[in-house]
């Protein structure tokens, strides 16, 4: 995996995971611009350390860097991270015939983001890593430094908490 400063090899190995890092950054940062900066800083830090990255899963490695940078930034600014709005929403709506549905989806996403922000930190992070970023429970456990069973329990409680919070807002789906 050692590449000795080869930009191309680094980008080929890491850019396929840009969606995962962007989703995590959106969860950790206060707004879209900070999320984009966090993605950039993650890649720069990863590039600087790429020569020493051997064997381990590249996706988990990038996520760990992003998480550490994001947590440092949160500590520095002394604030709680929150979900940011989807910057694509406006663009999607402009080109779509079904603007009403998209607007509704946007409102729902805001409510979901607000509800996730109200969950306890460890549940929130576990939920973000597994359900939003798409990591396996094992990968999330590796990143968070805890057993897989702990992550599974946190994700389960986070999902239930999210569903209950949104049920209070009348947003849950019809149950059979």
């Amino acid at each position: 995996m050692s590449v000795g400063g080869d930009h191309r090899q680094f980008l080929e190995a890491t850019l396929p995971h840009a969606d995962v890092i962007y989703n995590l950054a959106c969860h950790l940062a206060a707004d879209r611009w900070q999320a984009e900066d966090l993605v950039q800083e993650t890649y720069l830090h990863a590039y600087a350390a790429f020569a020493s990255h051997r064997g381990a899963c590249t996706r988990s490695w990038l996520v760990a860097i992003c998480l550490n940078l994001g947590r440092s930034e949160v500590r520095r600014l002394g604030r709680r991270p929150r979900e940011i709005l989807d910057p694509n929403v406006g663009l999607d709506m402009a080109g779509s015939e079904n603007v009403g549905d998209l607007a509704l989806a946007s409102v729902e996403r805001r409510a979901v983001a607000r509800a996730i922000a109200r969950l306890p930190l460890e549940q929130r992070l576990s939920l973000a890593l597994v359900d939003i970023c798409g990591l396996t429970a094992r990968e999330a456990a590796e990143v968070m430094g805890c057993p897989r069973g702990t992550v599974l329990a946190r994700v389960h409680r986070g999902r239930r908490g999210l569903a209950q919070l949104l049920e209070h807002e009348g947003m849950s789906r019809e149950r059979p």
Binding site: V3, G4, G5, D6, H7, F10, L11, L15, A18, D19, I21, Y22, N23, C26, H27, D31, W33, Q34, E36, D37, V39, Q40, E41, Y43, L44, Y47, A48, A49, A51, E83, D86, P87, N88, A105, E108, R109, V112, A113, A115, I116, L127, A128, D131, I132, G134, A137, L152, A153, H156, G158, R159, R160, G161, L162, A163, L166, M171, S172, R173, R175
Partner: protein, 238 residues
């Protein structure tokens, strides 16, 4: 109740063997608490999944650019394949030749040709900014520039740059501040004929304005006009 939750979590993670799974299926039919927990888990997973996004192509371009321009650290620096002495000789020859050519054409102070890399970096970043948008009623020019995100520090060919993006009506721009003066491209227009303190230039549809100072220098780049960049420079106090 904790035991029920542990069972349910194992059931959802498919950690149970066939017989345990069948037993829990039967248990679910008679346990309202577990059934509700199962439904909430599925609902929560669906809701969280609605927040998944796809990274914007412009952000991928930006990441690619800063990585390509990043200085290799000691850890990532490749082993030299050619003699350092040869590289030094080539560099010195290029430097002297370039300096003489530069002096003969412009008659301005000599600056190392490698510093054009800094300008390339700023222009490259400016190219990733959104295209100018038609100003709306709520984006009047009197509002002044708005900083977008946190500044980013990067090093290109030894020159340390602090890059900040601004929303500068009617378009976005990148401002690069450095303690080292920016080199003057050959096609630049000098704004003060006596020296290389201020100049502007264009690279495709990207306009560039440079104000070299004794302590710090600023380079502004964006799709807006020269007037837009000048307004931004003034608003930023340069």
């Amino acid at each position: 109740m904790r035991d029920h939750e542990a069972r349910l979590v194992s059931f959802l993670a498919r950690d149970l063997d066939m017989s345990q799974r069948e037993a829990f299926d039967i248990h679910l039919l008679s346990c309202d608490a577990c059934w509700r927990a199962l439904e909430e888990d599925r609902e929560g997973r669906h809701l969280a999944g609605t927040l998944r996004r796809t990274v914007l192509p412009a952000l991928v371009d930006r990441v690619r650019l800063v990585v390509e321009l990043a200085e290799p650290t000691e850890a990532t620096r490749p082993l030299p394949r050619v003699s350092a002495r040869l590289v030094g000789a080539l560099f010195a020859t290029t430097f002297v030749a370039g300096g003489l050519l530069f002096l003969s054409i412009l008659g301005t102070p000599v600056v190392p040709a490698q510093r054009f890399a800094a300008i390339d970096a700023v222009v490259g970043m400016a190219k990733t900014l959104p295209s100018p948008v038609k100003p709306s009623a709520d984006s009047a020019p009197s509002e002044g520039p708005r900083q977008l995100g946190a500044p980013v520090t990067m090093t290109t060919q030894g020159q340390v740059l602090r890059l900040t993006r601004y929303q500068a009506w009617p378009t976005d721009a990148v401002a690069a501040v450095s303690s080292t003066p920016f080199a003057v491209p050959l096609d630049a227009t000098m704004l003060h004929q006596s020296n290389a303190m201020a100049w502007n230039a264009a690279n495709g549809n990207i306009h560039i304005l440079c104000l070299n100072g004794t302590r710090s220098s600023v380079l502004l780049a964006g799709r807006g006009s020269n007037e837009t960049l000048m307004r931004l420079a003034m608003a930023l106090g340069y």
